[in-house]
Amino acid sequence: MPKAPRDGDEAKPEHPVATLSIQRLIQRALFHVQSAGKDEIQPLDLFVALYQAKDSHALHLLLAQGVERLDVLNYISHGTRKDVAESRGHR
């Protein structure tokens, strides 16, 4: 049946507000933490997990800044800074 005023409907929180990609983000971070044998998810795990959210604007903005996944992993795992690596390696 058609509902005339929608204001009444709006009042009750009818649907969840987190999108599915939020769930996937947490799941991915969790998989990573488990497979790496770490105890719990840290903010950086969430950050790295963002790189698998292919169609997202979050990833788009990161890449637009030139922050590639490989650079991130290099820095996290080896402390290699991108600017230093480039000046030493390529030029």
């Binding site: 049946m1 058609p2 509902k3 005339a4 929608r6 204001d7 409907d9 709006e10 009818e14 649907h15 969840p16 507000v17 987190a18 999108t19 599915l20 990609s21 939020i22 769930q23 983000l25 947490i26 799941q27 971070a29 969790l30 933490v33 105890d39 719990e40 998810i41 840290q42 903010p43 950086l44 795990d45 969430l46 950050f47 963002l50 959210a53 169609d55 997202s56 604007h57 979050a58 990833l59 788009h60 903005l61 990161l62 890449l63 637009a64 800044q65 030139g66 922050v67 590639e68 650079d71 991130v72 290099n74 820095y75 996290i76 402390g79 290699t80 800074r81 991108k82 600017d83 480039e86």
Partner: protein, 218 residues
């Protein structure tokens, strides 16, 4: 493959001296996705109208028009969204249809699931479970909580990855990493702020309804 010999050859052809570097592939704005309703013989007209007004913020007139289109042409456009939100809407609608069908409020009519979806329950239950099993660290949990607060304080309809990135940028580890990976955290924050302010749909206020049109690219 041809990396070694190539520069020399090119130099000869160019008459020498000109270094040629291949341009990086241009970064494309993430695609937008249309949510399309398909016709079937079970779903009632009224239910489709209800879905369109409830989940896609259409007015009664718009909803009736789209529903007529679905009825006559076999399909109709409910809206265009980012991948994440389009997918979430599909799941929400499907679950709503299933709930309604099981309650059989619609005269016991069998409601076919008219949109494909996985039986995923969207929500934040995941985090509570993780906390129970002590899998999520205090800091990461705080990040997620702050993201959720960011969403509600900006009155956005959904809590998305962009909100998470926003609060991740308050974490010193993340700021260091962005910098270490060649990025500028404050620039990133600025572009993110712009995205959150201009590209995220807000929940309708009680009196006014936001225009259902897609926000145009800046």
């Amino acid at each position: 493959m041809m990396a070694e010999g190539d520069p020399g050859r090119r130099e000869e052809q160019d008459g020498g001296g000109v270094a040629v570097e291949e341009g990086r592939p241009k970064l494309k704005e993430p695609a937008r996705f249309a949510v399309i309703l398909h016709n079937d013989d079970y779903t009632t007209f009224d239910f489709v109208v209800e879905v369109l007004t409830r989940f896609f913020r259409k007015t009664m007139e718009e909803a009736a028009q789209i529903t007529m289109k679905v009825h006559h042409e076999g399909h109709g456009l409910a809206g265009v969204f980012t991948h994440d939100i389009a997918e979430t809407k599909v799941v929400q609608v499907t679950e709503y249809a299933q709930t309604m069908a099981s309650r059989s409020r619609h005269g016991g009519a069998r409601l076919a699931v008219f949109l494909q979806a996985r039986a995923l329950c969207a929500g934040f239950a995941g985090v509570h479970d993780l906390r129970r099993f002590r899998m999520i660290g205090r800091k990461a949990e705080a990040v997620l909580n702050r993201s959720s607060v960011t969403r509600s304080s900006r009155n956005h309809e959904y809590f998305t990855l962009e909100h998470v990135l926003w609060s991740l940028l308050d974490e010193i580890d993340v700021i260091d990493t962005v910098r270490g990976a060649g990025g500028d955290p404050s620039e990133l924050r600025k572009s993110l702020e712009k995205h959150l302010e201009t590209r995220c749909r807000r929940r309708p206020a009680t009196a006014t309804r936001p225009s259902p049109s897609i926000p145009s690219p800046p």
